[in-house]
Symmetry: D2
């Protein structure tokens, strides 16, 4: 992958002059954490090949470290924050909301916190959704449940002016946008519109993508919980396949453009025989095609499990130009397509078989976060609050090399994160499943 020329400097609203109400330390070895300063960075690029003697840092991507600053921009007594959750559900949304509210309220003393209902739609007057006033009492137990207490929906991220009008009307200083790349593109536009109006608004995004397809974040929250749920479902498919006459289990998991859920699920258990992801094309027909391989496997082993990411094999399906409310191209149903193609093929070969197709999408999205994701969400939320209170804007909270950092929205939404078929994750998947290259010249 080529290194892009991207600017990783973080915008701020202005000089931080308010002393932080969080009492940390500036000394070492007093058992009290130190404030983070703006000149603390981490290196993004860590690969070193060959005999290089030195790295010139001005050519490297340096990412600003997240954490509480000694001086902040907003006076907590006057600050007003808003939180909005957009797009499809994802485990951990309530954990993030809880953490934002708790940190604003107890650490900084910000008592005006608004929850916007049903995504960006909640800002628009024509829907007249009332917003929720959020307090510790309201959020204290919400992490025990999946979903988002704010509700969510797709779209309307392009109604920038209306949204900024609403924010001005409500006197909001800080906006937390929890959502995927569409949402964060909206957040970017909001940031720019606010700057244009000289409206002192801090916009801090918490990246959410169950597909794990956002760039510059090592793992998105909820992803691990999603993989855990998928593992359970694929186990069921394996049992169904194994215990039927020539049983074939097909499970479709999330992954519009990136096969991370499928790849991780296959590696976390050991019952998948074919993993199909958007990043790796495959043939259905032909000597190296899936159908031929599957037919052979049924002869040898009498059952098979296929795990397919929803965005895989779209070239095999009829074109379709519709888009959904988030502006995503509507995908054909590769799961049903495979089920039909396999049924037809095995029938044509007179192979008696039992084919089960499972699409667990909603079950996976709506689960509460597992402990590791809960912890991650708690820390994402706290660090987002620290950034916002320091007047940072147009940025996302991210985890890179296990450190929390600030990333400008621009680079993060400039491209999707994908499984690299030449790198170690996919290699380990191929080795663990033993799956062949499913292409003519495979």
């Amino acid at each position: 992958m080529k290194k892009e020329k991207l600017n990783f400097a973080i915008d701020t609203l202005g000089k931080c002059t308010v002393p932080s109400p969080i009492s940390l330390s500036k000394e070492e070895d007093d058992y009290i954490a130190n404030y983070v300063t703006d000149d603390q960075h981490i290196l993004y690029d860590i690969a070193v090949t060959g005999n290089k003697q030195s790295l010139s840092l001005d050519k490297q991507r340096l990412l600003e470290r997240a954490g509480p600053r000694e001086h902040i921009y907003f006076d907590p007594a006057k600050a007003r924050a808003a939180i909005v959750t957009c797009g499809g559900l994802c485990p951990g949304l309530n954990d993030v909301i809880r953490s934002l509210v708790m940190c604003l309220w107890y650490r900084y003393g910000v008592k005006w916190i608004y929850g916007i209902k049903y995504g960006y739609r909640g800002f628009l007057p024509e829907f007249s959704f009332p917003c929720m006033q959020l307090t510790p009492e309201i959020v204290v137990d919400i992490h025990r449940q999946g979903g988002t207490i704010l509700g969510s929906s797709r779209g309307y991220g392009d109604r920038t002016e209306d949204i900024v009008d609403a924010l001005e009307r409500m006197n909001i200083n800080i906006l937390f946008t929890i959502g995927g790349d569409g949402t964060q593109r909206g957040a970017c536009a909001i940031t720019e519109e606010a700057q244009k109006r000289n409206f002192k608004l801090s916009v801090v995004g918490i990246p959410k993508t169950i597909d794990n397809d956002l760039s510059f974040i090592q793992k998105s929250f909820g992803f691990e919980t999603a993989v855990s749920s998928a593992v359970g479902v694929v186990s069921g498919a394996h049992v169904e396949a194994r215990d039927a006459v020539n049983g074939v289990g097909i499970v479709k998991v999330m992954g519009r453009e990136s096969g991370f859920i499928a790849a991780h699920t296959a590696l976390a258990m050991n019952d998948v025989n074919y993993v199909l992801i958007p990043e790796v094309p495959f043939d259905l027909q032909g000597e190296n095609g899936l159908l031929k391989h599957l037919e052979q496997r049924l002869c040898d082993r009498h059952h098979a499990v296929i795990l397919v990411a929803e965005g895989a094999g779209q070239n095999l399906l009829k074109k379709n130009n519709e888009v959904d409310a988030s502006g995503n191209k509507k995908l054909g149903d590769i799961g049903l397509f495979l089920k039909d193609a396999i049924t037809k093929h095995l029938k044509s070969k007179n192979i008696d078989s039992t084919i089960r197709y499972i699409d667990p999408s909603y079950i996976i999205r709506s689960a509460p976060a597992n402990p590791n994701d809960s912890l991650y969400c708690a820390r994402l939320g706290a660090n987002a609050v620290h950034a916002a209170m320091a007047g940072k804007t147009g940025m996302l909270i991210s985890l890179i090399h296990n450190r929390f950092v600030h990333i400008p929205i621009g680079p993060a939404v400039s491209r999707k994160n994908r499984v690299d078929p030449e790198e170690s994750l996919w290699r380990d998947v191929v080795e663990a499943t033993g799956q062949p290259v499913l292409m003519k010249n495979g």
Copy 2:
């Protein structure tokens, strides 16, 4: 923490002349992973503070990347491998064993794989434990259960000569040591003894420590599963405390020298009020002591949950110079000590209370790995096999900045990994629990 002068170069047994039976690629963009070469490294140190212009790489710690090499050292048809698991149980042991066997057998064609019973003890003639011959059929489903099919026990890592004698007798070329720092120190001695004898033995360790206290590994396998189990137990303690008159729940978790399990558990849920870890001293008595704070909390909130790592507050207990079979100092039981001290204190203040003490250690250690740990173990095992087949020795497989790397055993066992009380993890714990500094000058 000061940067140590440690050598991170990896020893090899000799030149790799055998072509790998794994067919990977050397080209880009052919959808087939490329072989890893010995000159691929990653930077260990990623923090950059201030206005530095460049990094001189010869002063940096560069870690060799793990993965399959194009040429290997051992002829798979003749190679013989042995696997040993040592020390206490930890989720994921069976996953690692499974992955080692599967990769050796199917990827490389190594068919002589021995499982050594009950740790290093299994090498010693006086115990006459027979060793197991391991095949894919035997290991295929073992990851569904906790523990280790090989059995485990502590100690005997200092019987270097006897162990190397046994390895020579068995014609073993490759030894995988799955264990903690004691085990890996033993592995280091075995490596040296083999070199002295000019016995071509590859020793590759897979670091195991449920406490997550090994250096140069970002997270040890099974740690996350342990945290998940601990979360469930602390939830129970919270319910017991909340629903009793002035209920106090005390949970002791693993963590002899490092409070990672306690810190992660507290952050992953939100019911802990005091986290006590070995890295942060605390007072029991006095105005800022735990007892005074707890008393106040019971007046205000009528219940409290204390999560204590087993190694915390050892200065408060009577000295004891015993050691266990692994050579670890026997710790006093801080949980029982706290229970007694709190009971006595509250009685002296005439506060009617209900104190529950829970020590879930064995329940946590013996659980099967959760999906994320399973995946991690699968990849650790595969990469350990790649390293061994390439003749690397005296090293550990590790994950750093989410890349699998080779680490020489020496630096890894030179010091413990600890929670840094001045860094962000502990800071986030303190913020989330709201716990005060529990020291006289707090």
Copy 3:
């Protein structure tokens, strides 16, 4: 319900003259269980209304108690048993197989135990499936996994003569049939054919029906596990519905003719608003129809969850005369039908809504049994073995009023067990959900 004139006497192959190898007692208070005798029964009918003075027992249904007899029919050294699992998967199949094998082997010393592959099909020469020889070693851990190690399939229960030919060829004395009413009808025919041939075959069925729709068994094994799984899925549907704009979650669960899974699931959680089962007709259109009520609920509460058994509302769907391999009428997909009807209706009323349809069938069927079902399966299996060794035949092992009993197959398959809309289970469902009567004259 009218009391049927059914014969509940149990057939036996002949006089039991072999002393049981199980050493129990005939004395009280020696802390050793006593043998069960053939004159121990339980009353089936326990309802007493009004001022009745006495019950005439010859008009009552008396059920023979299960358990080990002092004398048995088969010489364990010579006996040969076969086990077959038929129909769809159900949690607990492997637990039953395990229990049968363990009790035969260790309690009675029967060492010839055959597992028939893929249901009745496994008996038929044209499929030439080899049978498995079952031992304690093979079955010891199978209960940890869902499904059946024997495999299963539908149909072929009417190939009575071929099946009995196969049993004779294999010298089988005891046949355990694990399956639903179709399977047990087949078992009944096998019993009769064997009697006609004077072939001393004991046929003991273990009733399996995930729908809980078999008569004369208070709860079928796996049912409770199925309800647990369904609860998780419906929770997900509830989260999806609650957090979307006018979200509607539709979950379809098993229940071709009986709504037990749906009814129990709705009562076990509290998020279902409408439960639709085959036993209670409902209207879609009209003032009291589902659509009108749903529309009103969305106005009031903005979300709704509908739980529908697969056999509900079949009168609303187009007729279809196909049958599946088990001879069951193919049902129309009421879930998809409801999804379409609701979508169309809400669109016609200009109500912006989000409709999610989930069909978790295979995920539910393939799960391993929960502890309570495991215990139940263990006891069903042991009692089935006791019955078979005593030469009982043409019967099922059942649990009635929490006692294990013998039921002749005839009455058990004479009618389906159904949710009685006038009895307390359905009443409690209606009260808990608050759902209205969804019919014109409701």
Copy 4:
């Protein structure tokens, strides 16, 4: 067991003249449940041995069926209810509270519902605990958490007059007592005191005992959840034992006088080798003693799991005459006793071994109810409300032969429910574990 002469008639406060606000039916086949009438009973005794021709019903125990009556005693607009939870925690407490509140509020329109804090203590002025006013909003989600939102504590059930004084002061008409036999004895005394004062108080108990040791209830709520949790813990003990050199796992579970949890747990999994319960005495020493058998098993199989109910083997421990706040005799710790005795014995025989002792009590008690227990609690609560509204008093809601019935408190607390060593449950445990009779004359 001899049939006791006990009176099973249910007391009522007077004639029911208020039409029920629940609209049920009196007709058959209208798909609407019918009201239950006071002359509907079920037979308790169902065993029939030999050739009896008839049962004289006046010698039988007939139990009144629970359910909504057509006419009720209290005017819902004026009725005031109180709920109290006593004794140790048990899964399902919150489910019962939720169900009581929901049924009172929505089905009957009772809007004054008080939650008494911390058991009977909450009635006593000297503690001045404020009571909670309970509404659907407060209880809607409480079943997701273990414990009781009311808090619980032991004792004070003998402060009858003070409690009735408090009930009169608060104008309570209906008291729901959720607790074990001590609690229900208190409820009995309250009923009598109210009758003496001519205070129209309906007292309806919901029997709670995690040990399942109450008579006249087929299974107490939370018991099944407790068994599920115990299964997980014993699995861990099994792994620890199996994977250590001569590992012995000892798990102590609840069961002061009845070994139901231990017996069910052992049957639900298959890893227990010795089950020790209060009902079956055992020897430690001697040829048939536990120690000898264990020693032999370690020689043969190298590991063992012992599951002991807390009340087992008390004759082996030093006498102790203390009682706890509930008036229960304090038990010696049989688990620690066994651990010490086994350690000493194996050391004396020079057998190298690893002994793990686990006491999971609080983890088990504090879990939320599993789906089957949730459903059961929901129905117990609804039926308790129906009984109370109809003016029944001095009674418990119970499930017998899978029907909900009314039981007078007297018979229910007259003796404990115990595992009958001569009956099928214990027989099946002994067969499944293969454990020998552990007594001198075994």
